[in-house]
Amino acid sequence: MEITARQVIRFLEIVAARVKEHRDELTQLDAAIGDADHGANLDRGFTAVLAKLPTIADKDIGTILKTAGMTLVSTVGGASGPLYGTAFMRAGMALADRQELSEGDVVAALEAALEGIMARGKAQRGEKTMIDAIAPGIDVLKAAQANGEDFAEALRRALDAVKEGMESTIPMQATKGRASYLGERSIGHQDPGATSSYYMAQALLEAIESGVTSQ
């Protein structure tokens, strides 16, 4: 299975749509354990990314993702801006000059993105952040790759893992980010960043499955 630049653009478009759709939900989750701006932050950022797309649609995949990341850094602010921004920039650097992606490229890019998030935010799994949603999905893809399992199939299982990871943040006590100020009162709420990461994973699956039909 080969993924085209057109599909990467499509991925970004779907993320932007999902974020807008779930803007209020994300903000409400953030109101419970944060400061009620996560939905607005990401919506502002991906709206800016959408506006940039025409100028980069004909570029290589690395440039497309790097530009998206830089745009997020420049427009989102808060914690999620540098984190998602770094993630997309690192993915872009890992895919410099590519016009098409192999399955292995996708996994490598996702790993680079996660490393970027962990380096920038200095958080580990289990601290009630986006990492708890993203990491389990990557685990599934890497295992599948190692066992030579079908990628499309693995992607669907990865999305389930991301969903479980997102839900696993509910009983956690936050030790990073704004939610950590609440101490024990952060327990019992789903992390907004983990939730936005799940919607991005959904978008990724959809874009990849959409294949060339999106053209």
């Binding site: 400061d35 009620a36 502002r44 420049s74 808060g78 935010g121 030790t175 990073k176």
Partner: protein, 333 residues
């Protein structure tokens, strides 16, 4: 939601234009990226002092740009840290060749965005140092968490370090003084009502008609404890006791006592709290050598207050007393 605004999207821009219109003698405002610099920046041979953070805390930080305090401030969206582009542009605009100090409140977003901006500024050859304020004793601290929030001490630190830089202190000196202020200051806040983030349109948390929230931050984050509303004397004790124990402040100490309003609390109530605080400190043998009473670091229209105590010495007192002229804080000129 009832606010004097045109639309949630335009709150920050409209307020910035209002500040620019009201204070052309003190500040210049730039847009996209948004930042505020003192009208006469850059001051050659002076360390540039830059701060910033989400909007909704006015007069902090933009209201503290001017002579003897900040050289620049970067306002983010409401309650959202600004982006590196803003800090980078501000840092360049105030660089007087002696380096630039970033004053950062300890929030993950602020830390990371200022960090990226510092990396970019340094790559352009500007010497940048950063100090992080984390004075909120309501947050349990630990090596493994995001640590404490930066709140009231930030206001005092910006005044004091601003005076030091104006007095010719070099970057290292500014860092030393800033770390001393942060090290000797502690704060805690409470809310009688929630605030409403404009683009959300409803209160961030709900408080009953007889409830208050103790240990809140400045972003409508819920606090550590919810309880029935109590008297000003009891509330003052609930805030002051953890502050006093944390540093700890001791009998014989001289302090700057700062009673701050959260945005929706009138001055008459702040003076009532100050009166209780003065009595409480007197009983503990602590002398208030300087004070500040008013709404300087706010949380939109939240009703409530915070108390900040800063242990003073001759150096800090001299810098605090130095003339300052900004939209939000002014004396001596």
């Amino acid at each position: 939601m009832k606010k004097l605004i045109n639309s949630p999207e335009h709150v920050v821009r409209d307020a910035l234009e209002g500040m620019a219109a009201a204070h052309p003698d003190l500040i210049k405002v730039y847009y996209d990226p948004d930042y505020i610099v003192r009208a006469d920046a850059p001051i050659h041979g002076k360390v540039g002092i830059v701060s910033g953070g989400g909007s909704g805390h006015e007069p902090m930080h933009g209201g503290f740009v001017g002579k003897g305090m900040l050289d620049a401030a970067c306002p983010g969206a409401v309650f959202t840290s600004p982006v590196p582009d803003q800090m980078l542009a501000a840092t360049k605009a105030v660089d007087g060749g002696k380096g630039v100090l970033h004053i950062v409140k300890n929030y993950t977003g602020d830390i990371m965005n200022f960090e990226m901006a510092a990396e970019l500024a340094q790559s352009e050859g500007i010497e940048v140092a950063s100090v992080v304020t984390n004075d909120d004793v309501a947050v349990q601290d630990s090596l493994y968490t995001a640590g404490r929030r930066g709140v009231g001490v930030t206001v005092l630190l910006e005044k004091i370090v601003g005076a030091a830089a104006d007095g010719g202190a070099n970057l290292q000196e500014c860092v030393r003084i800033a770390e001393k202020v942060n090290g000797q200051g502690r704060s805690m806040g409470m809310a009688l009502t929630s605030c409403t983030v404009p683009h959300v349109g409803k209160p961030t948390f709900d408080l009953g008609e007889d409830e208050m929230e103790i240990g809140i931050g400045i972003h409508g984050e819920p606090g550590r404890r919810r309880m029935k509303v109590q008297s000003a004397a009891e509330i003052t004790e609930l805030l002051a006791t953890p502050i006093l124990q944390d540093l700890p402040f001791k009998s014989g100490d001289n302090v700057l006592a700062f009673v701050n309003g959260m945005g929706g609390t009138p001055l008459i109530e702040l003076y009532i709290v100050y009166n209780e605080l003065a009595k409480l400190l007197k009983d503990q043998g602590i002398t208030i050598s300087r004070n500040l009473v008013g709404s300087y670091i706010t949380s939109l229209e939240m009703a409530g207050c915070s108390i900040t105590l800063l242990r003073m010495d001759d150096e800090l007192t001299t810098l605090w007393d130095a003339p300052v002229r900004t939209p939000g804080m002014r004396w001596g000129m």
